[in-house]
Subunit: 439 residues, 2 copies
């Protein structure tokens, strides 16, 4: 929903070129914004102050695969899924799996600390980064490794949304492929049955690697688009995935089946082949595309609530939808309370965009009020940077601003992101080139 | 081996008292050093510049246990093992398990980002911290939560060794107790058989939750002290632990047995009862005490090497031992390449302390040379802060120093730790009280 254009777009081929561009930007006092595939959902790659956009499309080499030490080093433009494809012959994979993983790049994943359905078991991007090479706004090239002692710079830079440094090389942890994977579709006549099932699975001490939920509106859009086999008369479906040794996975499938039956689930389907499994996931991972077929515009939210608050949150979202007269369908990572209400609207109808934004903000206020947060995996970007003031005290925001300033003293790296704007060092200064071009 | 005394020791009972003490320290320009149980191995709690020591022994309350959301909030003086004890009735535990876990406190664990035998499966402290309350050197009280967006302050503060803030409340992740635990003792006639077995287990895609190795010298000292049942004629033992569902653990025990047989292991013992299991672990966890019975002084090192470099590193350690004429026994987390050579010496024999330090440094230089690091879990403290210059460029150290200065502009929080001293803001200024007392 946010738009802005850079003055210049460059596609460096290596770290030295990035450093040279950054030095040039320093000389002319220009903003610098990194961009991977531009799939981010919080506007992290939008150059709101103009300046130089560094596209990493040509820095897309897998530099090293080190199987004995279970790691790979890649350039930021490598597509997320391509890492897993490259190491699959060795029996390995890269765990974080954003739904956009066929397109999004690892550099963007690092910037936004991306998650995905399997975050439930494997954590987010920061849990899988073992080393970074990065360029500071003065053009200096640094490296840091998770094996190194001292302050945790990897943790600080991962998720800093391009506001502290430009990442030019990334060492990721590789994980062994599980011996057995089972994917289960649980079909429910009531959304509350699905919520109960999630609670029952937790109570039985089973930890699936993913527990995704789609409500009735969502699954109908998805089914129309991908024919994944989701029954269109259902009120909700759960997509549950188990991984591990053959023996334990088969045992867990039976336990999940029992949990489903106890909670009134209408039908439990277990994918029998890799093709059936892929089809079930295709529905989930292409969900945003499916929405795009139906609604002229949509706004994906990314609130987090404690797992125990999922059912009340679904009710609250329905109330917000009724209040604004907008359709809101739900698809979310049920296992970790990361909700993605999708607000449907038509940006050509005057006032609907504003209504969608207001509905989104109201849902996030609810998330905060029940002890949750305004983003689980999409980042703050320019969508929610002003909302940070609802979560943090002025002192804490000042502390974060000083951290940013330490790396980027003149506020030229991705200005206007993450932190509320207009507070001293966080002021957005438009690129002098944009100003000159406008004359 | 390092010693120093504070001018004043205080035992606050709550966060407000900590803030008041810190403000007083600011007024009189005094260093402030936090201390948990003082079990740290890199001198993190030693007040090398004098000043005020804040002992957290009286801030030892478990504030909240939230089982539905799998977390607990505790004060820094709570003993590590007491958290697991408090949540055990609910079927939960706190994962990071330093060998000192019966004594060490969670505040110290956060400061040093402590690990333990089960780090192999569960990661270090930073992977289990969901929220912090902390006091800055000006007395301001802040909180931060892992659910919150923005820069990762929890990651930055965890492992900062008390140089940035004093932690006053900690929210930890709780994990479900596994359904089945099996502990295996593999007895080897040659140390290389043990190293081969570790490689073979990895090759078979089994991931135990712990793989500990003790060499012959070490296991004899341990056996004399704890009568854990380690055979005193062995050249090495492996202590391997498996966790999970009953079915998968039983299957993995057989696979481990096969791996051991293939690599020439003399005997494989599987603990049959919880008592047998506890006894095996008692040997491992009391190892430092066992060394203390035998040697007048000892120096525990904490190098890390890639898993593939374990065997060459053991050979190198033997060479260093021969060169300096000191006994060096080995106990280490084999699964993650975290070596703990224990250098035996007598501090009353002139020159032996210096020899021990030199031997330790030589081993760490080797670790760096094969792509490893100078500390895995004990922290940098004042033991290795000067060695940081061997791992990092001046630019990177300056970047870390600026981070420290951001939180602690006058360098009064645990001065002389983590970073090399004497570089501008990292200069150690002796407490004015110490100077006054000395007059």
């Amino acid at each position: 929903m946010d738009k802005s254009r850079p003055d210049v777009v460059v596609f460096p081929r290596d770290t030295a070129a990035v450093a040279a561009i950054v030095k040039l930007a320093a000389e002319y006092d220009l903003p610098v914004v990194g961009r991977g595939a531009g799939t981010g959902l919080s506007g992290g790659a939008i150059p709101r102050a103009g300046g130089i956009m560094i596209g990493f499309a040509r820095m897309n080499r897998i530099v090293d695969i080190d199987i004995p030490n279970e790691r790979a080093t890649v350039e930021p433009g490598v597509v997320n899924l391509d890492i897993s494809a490259a190491v699959a012959p060795f029996g390995y994979f890269y765990a974080p799996d954003p739904s956009s993983q066929r397109a999004c790049t690892i550099g963007g994943n690092v910037a936004e600390n991306a998650g995905g359905p399997h975050t439930l078991a494997y954590g987010v991007t920061t849990n899988h980064i073992l080393g970074l090479e990065y360029v500071l706004p003065d053009g200096a090239i640094h490296t840091t490794s998770a094996d190194n002692p001292g302050y945790d710079l990897i943790g600080l830079l991962t998720g800093s949304e391009g506001t502290m440094a430009l990442t030019t090389k990334i060492t990721v942890r590789l994980m062994r492929q599980p011996e057995r994977v089972k994917t289960i579709l649980a079909i429910c006549n009531q959304a509350s049955d699905a919520a109960d099932t999630v609670a029952e699975i937790t109570a039985r001490a089973i930890t699936p690697v993913a527990v995704e939920m789609l409500d009735g509106e969502m699954l109908r859009m998805v089914e129309d688009a991908t024919h994944a086999g989701y029954p269109k008369d259902a009120a909700a479906v759960l997509l549950i995935e188990l991984e591990g040794l053959v023996e334990s996975v088969e045992e867990q499938v039976e336990q999940i089946r029992e949990a489903c039956m106890k909670c009134g689930v209408r039908e439990v389907r277990v994918a029998r082949t890799a093709e059936e499994r892929d089809l079930l996931w295709k529905g989930r991972k292409n969900a945003f595309g499916a929405v795009g077929r139906v609604s002229p515009s949509y706004y994906v939210q990314d609130g987090v609530v404690p797992r125990t608050q999922i059912a009340p949150t679904l009710r609250r979202i329905a109330e917000v939808a009724a209040k604004y007269g907008l359709g809101i369908s739900n698809i979310f990572h049920a296992g970790d309370g990361n909700m993605h209400p999708i607000i449907l609207f038509n940006s050509h109808v005057p006032g609907e965009l504003e209504k969608a934004r207001a509905a989104g903000e109201e849902i996030l206020e609810w998330c905060i009020s029940v002890g949750g947060s305004i983003t689980g995996e999409h980042g703050v970007g320019m969508e929610k940077n002003e909302m940070m003031a609802h979560l943090f005290s002025g002192d804490s925001l000042d502390c974060m601003a000083r951290l940013k300033t330490l790396f980027d003293p003149t506020n030229r790296l991705n200005p206007g992101k993450v932190l509320p704007t207009g507070r001293g060092c966080m002021e957005i200064r438009q690129s002098p080139l944009t100003t000159a071009n406008a004359v």
